[in-house]
Symmetry: C2
DNA sequence: GATTGTAGATTAACCGGTTAAGTTCCCGAG
DNA sequence: CTCGGGAACTTAACCGGTTAATCTACAATC
């Protein structure tokens, strides 16, 4: 099978076929002006005839690029699978892939194994840009910075001036989400959240939650916050803890829709009706959230725009490397659906 | 910024530093025996000192590989985003990525634009293997075959002997799913499905549905089948058509969980309780299905194994190209949850 | 008729690795 | 003392593109 693996024609084969030099082929391929109409046609015919497809490896070697954009997303745990199963990540990846494809790039997706040399990937693959999604240890950013290639941070915070970033107003989002509950008369609100001290968006959303409470003159109380990882199961577990608490919660604000969805599941299994017994507000507005029963009231962010803007920043940065840090903050809004009750 | 872009050290720089030839560096890097302990150490020290990372482009050029596995998944529509938002696809991609990473490969994910030359990607990137997920036009398979690289089909059918494949028993799965409804006394069962004539898994599941009916002496009636695309919204729309039908349906069998989820949403919005008014069975057992209310009874398939086996087949085929077609059929089973009522 | 200019093509070096073939050098056997 | 053989390296060609520099006609200008 490998024996009869047909050797692909190279640019030299095409050159021979068209009776010109390899340089001419290359120029035709790259749309250089200084080739006569006639030669151009002859070259194109030869390319057609031989089914010639340029080798991007070879091209990359000489052009020092790869037409490859790296996308780094978190793993469920070290040395484990990607968090693609979290709809937030898959939605954004699909959006990045689209923008990349349209612009002639391909996507290389990967996680970051703890033991991996972070830089290595960027270097060995000569990536043209990287989109980082999610939070990582400081060391990660420091190393990546050395690569000197365009990098945009999404839902990832790093003070360094080097990185581009596209964010949403996480703090404000959590603020309006929480405020919505407060305005509907809820006073005992559980916060279901990721690990706050890890910083990033979680921390900001926590702050927004606190902002809303403060505005209503309520104290931020530790026994109202329930921390865990950010996935369905964790939502379930956090809900369990909420239910077992002595506090008469009437509502929960989750810093991510998947956590809200997991929590709803547990409340339901307890026989607690939503929103009658328990109101729930999420954050992200995943596709799936609309399909929950009841449909989840949540803080909307435009995940697709997040992805496409990230890609645009990379492209700009490739075109114009001198240009400084680009930063974009997208708006958020509350989508009222059926998971909140007026007290 | 690009001006001060540090030139990466090449193998020749390392050679100079260690006072040996480039070949020696290469041999050390690739663990060849015939290098003395002492030289080996000297080379390693030089590599350390210079922060040398080999360039996979260059290596690929001479080795004729890329350490890249392509993953092709469907798009929501031509020239559009990837179906990654369908949890089935994201779950399987995350599983493939993991197996790939563990084995020193990276994943390049892409859709297939209608106008794209399918072969091009494989050729120009010198992919080491491709995993095809979902159904595509015949032309697609024919072209891809020419690439002569290992290809495994997942949820993708093609008679050609050339392709490896990992499947589940789709027909049997649909059979047990439907049978479960029949055994619970349901006789008017709506089939919510993808486009049957497109073949592939949809067709097989359709057949399994028919098998079960036949076993119970029931005819397969056209007015019981509702076709649409496979996504949440379509499920909703199909449910609308079911509800508007004159037939007193008591149950629906969906050939995909996302369709079932969309349908449940619509039934709920009609005030139809599930399973009291309408029983629903899905197919796939997505992560999310467990979190629905009620939890979805569905035909389980091991999506993770599907992905990891696909990757294993590619690796085997790379190691041993002479070996013939590999085929694997994974088992399915029914997971009973709360969306089916006994009549 | 000599000079200059230019459109259209070619030459050859280069990108950064791999590897077959060749070179040294040293040791043990005949 | 000579020769064979293997261990440890080196040489140099090659992978398949790009591109600066160079060449060649041929037309225009003086």
């Amino acid at each position: 099978m490998s024996a009869d693996r047909l050797k692909r024609p190279t640019i030299r084969d095409v050159a021979k076929e068209a009776n010109v030099s390899v340089a001419t082929i290359s120029y035709v391929l790259n749309g250089k002006e200084s080739i006569s109409e006639e030669t151009r046609d002859r070259v194109k015919a030869a390319i057609q005839k031989l089914d010639y497809v340029p080798d991007l490896n070879a091209r990359g070697l000489s052009m020092k690029n790869s037409k490859l954009i790296g996308v780094v997303i978190p793993q469920t745990e070290p040395g484990s699978r990607l968090m693609l199963t979290n709809p937030f990540y898959s939605e954004i990846v699909s959006s990045i892939e689209y923008s990349a494809r349209v612009n002639g790039y391909h996507l290389l997706i990967t996680g970051t194994d703890a033991d991996a040399d972070y830089l290595k990937l960027a270097m060995e693959r000569k990536l043209d840009g990287i989109v980082i999604i999610g939070m990582y240890p400081d060391q990660f950013y420091n190393e990546l910075k050395k690569s000197r290639i365009p990098i945009v941070l999404v839902d990832s915070y790093c003070d360094d001036h080097y990185f581009h970033s596209v964010q949403i107003n996480d703090r404000y989002g959590a603020y309006i989400g929480t405020k919505h509950l407060l305005e509907n008369g809820h006073r005992e609100i559980a916060l279901l959240t990721g690990i706050i001290k890890e910083g990033g968006v979680i921390r900001k959303r926590y702050d927004g939650f606190a902002d809303a409470l403060r505005e209503f003159g309520l104290p931020m109380r530790d026994d109202h916050v329930f921390e865990g990882v950010v996935d369905f199961d964790s939502g379930l577990e956090l809900a369990r803890r909420v239910a077992k608490s002595r506090i008469p919660f009437t509502a929960a604000f989750a810093t991510a829709d998947i956590v809200a969805i997991g929590a709803m599941k547990h409340f339901h299994s307890l026989g607690w009706k939503i929103p009658e017994r328990m109101s729930v507000v999420g954050f992200d507005d995943l596709n799936i959230s609309r399909y929950m029963d009841p449909a989840l009231t949540t803080v909307h962010q435009d995940i697709y725009r997040k992805g496409s803007h990230a890609m645009e920043m990379i492209l700009r940065s490739i075109q114009n490397p001198e240009e400084g840090k680009q930063e974009l903050i997208l708006p958020v809004s509350l989508v009222e659906r059926d998971s909140v009750r007026r007290l």
